[in-house]
Symmetry: C2
Subunit: 299 residues, 2 copies
């Protein structure tokens, strides 16, 4: 199976997972209980929402502890050999004070493509349960059902599904240059592609044009889809696009961006090569924006 589109053959972090999500088990209590009782079954170990590396593995798993309850776990799927993989929906936070940047950013680049994809799905799902313990319709307590892929309200029985928020992330292109921006929260010189949430009532293409107009005041016409990436902080679907700008005059929205600049292929090449004279620092290779710049160079 191709991991991304043919237009960009490099692997992108959090894509390319090989686990079979086995959704037929989610709705079949007997087969789900059999998977849970399978002596090969494993549980992905998390520390809060982060991986809990062991001496043997960066994304460690354990057998199912005898005291563990199926109802507190989500089925992530079946490995190629049929091994069921679960994750606990009870978030166990470490006593250590949080450090910045979080440890997770040191671990993720060292995971295999498949491990990162499994971790991304697990993190998004566990975090969603942790932040959605109550029914948004009536305020009642809810609990996980269907192998952790649904929550149901204990008062009004409404079913709630994990959120995945579509986000457009895009390069506007004009006369051999692309538009990149620096969020005010980023360190100096760190630039990325512009991005924003798709709102109810708009297409991907309309969201791309709206966000570029809002953030940089640049009007765009044609929009082309490039590739996508699930982003587990907390649960976005990053939809990467390229838009054709109709002019290059920038009117910055300072609530959104500290800077926005048009950069050439030479500028991008120097940044990705981490040349000390580069105009800007590129986005992390973990981020889809990094791959959008590589795609634009024709790498």
């Amino acid at each position: 199976m191709t991991q991304t589109t043919l237009a960009y053959p490099r692997p992108i972090t959090f894509t390319g997972g090989t686990i079979d999500r086995a959704d037929h088990l989610r709705i079949d209590p007997e087969r789900l209980a059999a998977a849970w009782a399978d002596p090969r079954a494993r549980i992905v170990l998390l520390d809060g929402l982060d991986p809990r590396p062991t001496a043997d593995s960066l994304l460690a798993t354990s057998p199912v502890p005898p005291e563990a309850a199926l109802g507190d776990h989500a089925l992530l799927g079946l490995r190629d050999d049929g091994t069921p993989v679960f994750v606990s929906l009870i978030v166990i936070k470490s006593d250590e004070p949080p450090v910045f940047p979080p440890k997770v950013w040191q671990v993720i680049p060292q995971l295999s493509l498949d491990e990162a994809a499994l971790y991304g799905a697990a993190r998004s799902l566990v975090d969603w349960h942790d932040r959605h313990q109550y029914c948004a319709r009536c305020g009642g307590k809810s609990h996980p059902i269907r192998a952790g892929w649904v929550r149901q309200c204990e008062i009004c029985s409404t079913e709630h599904f994990p959120r995945t928020d579509p986000v457009v992330i895009m390069l506007a292109e004009y006369e051999g240059k692309v538009l990149i921006g620096r969020n005010a929260r980023f360190p100096p010189r760190r630039f990325s592609a512009l991005a924003g949430f798709v709102e109810p009532g708009e297409t991907i293409e309309e969201a791309v044009r709206r966000e570029i107009m809002e953030e940089a005041g640049v009007r765009c016409g044609r929009v082309d889809y490039l590739f996508s990436q699930p982003w587990p902080f907390p649960s976005q679907l990053m939809i990467a696009c390229v838009a054709q700008a109709l002019d290059d005059r920038i009117v910055l929205d300072e609530n959104e961006l500290a800077e926005a600049v048009w950069v050439s292929k030479d500028d991008v090449r120097a940044a990705l090569a981490e040349d000390e004279n580069a105009l800007f620092l590129p986005p992390s290779p973990v981020a889809v924006a990094h791959h959008m710049l590589r795609w634009w160079l024709g790498d």
Copy 2:
């Protein structure tokens, strides 16, 4: 501005809205209050979640009533001439018993492209507020803030954003035929494209391949994006794709589909022409699946 992609120039219902969402007003209480007080300001009239047609208009609007409160309304945006357009977040349900099919299906095909897009955004937003009156984190009551584009919990202050659920909808292609399916809830002979929600931790392309495999047992390789459509029942982003199947053997998941068949261009042409001898009844022109079949014919 192009309404859809260049690959498919026909208009698709709920796309092509021209209203300026004016997100800068959402975070600026003074300018928002000025828009609300603008004597030109209009409120889209709904009956429950459906349009409330008048003798003059299928998607009628009224001036702001003197007793109305800004905090109970969402700003949909500004028209080209600067007219602010709002919608009430208080759902007023009609006393009439619901009929099937709902009246909304009679009105939508008669709306202009721009009216349908405005209605779609309004319906999704109003419905989201109606179904999310409580905080999913703590169970407290929440209320709309930022011109109706956020809700905030009155207990724990958590902010909640409107949901938009990405859904992949796709044609699998094999040797000059495409795969279509009949949901068990559909009437006899009514077929559409296969579809399913994108889950946390997967790309658009991975979701397309997973759904076709789950529902019809067909393995696919390359996936190409076609176009997208916001679908306000309640708030999906329909992401239309075409996938290249690796073989044509179907293993039906009867929990998902009643039937799945491979159809030729002649079969699709007869169905779209509503030929009485056609193999199947096509999806409604309001649905993106209708346009996917037209795109496949090269119309």
